[in-house]
């Protein structure tokens, strides 16, 4: 904690937003700050406290950040207006940027968007030129037929010798057979639009941020698949010209909730390295990602399959 300073803040038009500003304890402060926001209904500390851990690690490397709760989530109060939640999220994040600008004089920002947080981050990036970087962690995903089929085959092959699949199969059957169980899963809460509407919005927004040369890292995990060949999670968008300037990384050894400490460490290493590169204008990682073998295996006790870690970054 001596390496950083943390300040609880209350801000926004009516003071209803709550957050924590983390700044380097000593040394120089980078001219870019990170915004960390809610993942689903988790409050601002993030799943497994990852936002706190990441904020402190970034601070030791000179990067300031604010982790905050959007209106109506976590510790923040409800919005006073009646805006759509995506619009309100942009207002809230702009209020956070305004606060950081006032407190620290920093005017450029990188959004660390986990899951649904990436959707809000993308809305902000489209709306506000102060955003220079966007991390999208297990967010938009459009796996094609081959990708889905391979996932199913791999799971089917693993099932006979893997007792975990008994539970997975049971839950799957329950969702299929029980309307109440299917309703309880409620995936539409986080993705309320039909797939074609989501895809169109994704194309439009990503084209816009590509035109602005925004640095984007699309990061996907072993929750979605066990392998990735060619930006598989982007499906039809994988080879779109506007997507090729974004970095893409699949890490099969970590999961969506960063359940193990090793997964958290891998995540923080990847994110810190990327944030520093964006901040200091360094080169994109090579497609082979030479550092891959230097990271600890996130799934303790298991040699990491070589195909489980693949980054594709084109200049």
């Amino acid at each position: 904690m001596n390496d950083c300073k943390e300040t609880p803040v209350q801000f926004g038009a009516d003071g209803s937003l709550i957050g924590i500003v983390t700044t380097p304890g000593e040394g120089s402060m980078a001219p870019v700050a990170c915004l960390m926001l809610n993942m689903g209904a988790n409050h601002h500390i993030g799943p497994r406290r990852i936002n706190v851990k990441l904020a402190r690690q970034l601070a030791t490397r000179g990067i300031s950040s604010i982790r905050l709760d959007l209106s109506g989530l976590g510790d923040s109060g409800p919005a006073s207006g009646s805006e759509h939640f995506l619009t309100q999220a942009v207002y809230d994040l702009q209020a956070a940027m305004g606060l950081i600008e006032t407190m620290l004089g920093v005017r450029r920002f990188i959004v660390i968007g986990l899951c649904s947080g990436a959707t809000n981050g993308l809305s902000l990036a489209v709306a506000d030129a102060r955003v220079v970087g966007l991390l999208m962690f297990d967010s938009y995903s459009f796996p094609g037929r081959r990708t889905r089929a391979e996932r199913m085959v791999r799971r089917a092959l693993a099932a006979p010798t893997n007792p975990a699949f008994i539970g997975k199969l049971g839950r799957w059957l329950q969702r299929k057979l029980s309307p109440s169980a299917a309703a309880a899963a409620a995936p539409h809460i986080f993705d309320p639009d039909p797939p074609e509407v989501t895809a169109a919005a994704f194309r439009r927004s990503m084209s816009q941020v590509a035109a602005r040369n925004l640095a984007v890292l699309l990061l996907y995990t072993g929750t979605l698949h066990v392998t990735d060949r060619n930006r598989d999670q982007l499906g039809p968008f994988a080879n779109e010209p506007f997507m090729r300037q974004f970095e893409y990384e699949f890490i099969g050894d970590i999961d969506h909730s960063l359940t193990s400490m090793a997964a958290q460490q891998t995540f923080m290493t990847v994110v810190c390295d990327w944030v520093l590169r964006v901040t200091h204008g360094g080169p994109s990682a090579s497609p082979q990602l030479a550092t891959a073998t230097e990271r600890p295996a996130a799934r303790a006790g298991v040699p990491r399959p070589t195909q489980a870690f693949a980054r594709d970054a084109l200049p």
Binding site: A41, H44, I45, A158, A186, I189, T259
Partner: protein, 268 residues
Amino acid sequence: MTPMLFGPASRQLFGLFHAPERDGSVALLICQPFGQEAIRAHRLFRVLADRLARGGAAVLRFDYYGTGDSPGEDIDGELEGWRRDVCSAHEELRRRAGARRIVWLGSRLGAAMAVLAAKSGRCDPSRLVLWDPIVDGARYMDTLRAGHVDALERSYCVPDPIWRRRLAKDPDAFTDELFGFGVSPTMRQQLRALAPQTLQLTALHETVMLADAEDLAAHQWAQAEAARHMPVKISPFQHPLIWTSDPHPNNAMVPTEALQRLMAEVHE
């Protein structure tokens, strides 16, 4: 609501003070659960604090050292320090709430912390509300490490069968990272030593214990305390909150029955 850091400079804690919005005589200190359970219960306690403040109670929520937004790493957390943190939070609430009667609400491991802190004699709660208290630390740790493996298996597309084998073979497996929260050797030792006989109530305050009738360990502990003539009321209470689940829509974020019951107990 006011976010703040409080406590001695060497051990600051993050807290959120909900100022009372009308006259009242009660102040509430919320002693949170540990790790994933604290994340799960966060919204419930936020709503509970809001409602109570609206009704005239002063409320302080806080994070133990090494948890939530408080300084410290995961592995800096340990029960003796957390016991002192409860007293430190009590003093902060006393400073802000004046002469009000201070009630402590402790849930899960937070209930054990509340009992230990009250026993220390360093602070003067008027009433303890213990919700689903952890009275058997060894069993709790076993439940958490099994839940950790279950969470891993649910989260990965193709889980690794080694996890479950390790869980079965090695009693220490995964005890250093319960649900992704680092646990130090000291904390593990303290959890293993946490047993019903180490949790003794005092006669200086009332205690109410809310727990499912099937939670035999909690009920037996409370009955034993009642047999020692401690002023404890035992109250069977069921609710749908799954303590270790992620805050997802398939399990109520703020179960109405829990909210109403806790509000009633604080005001009793």
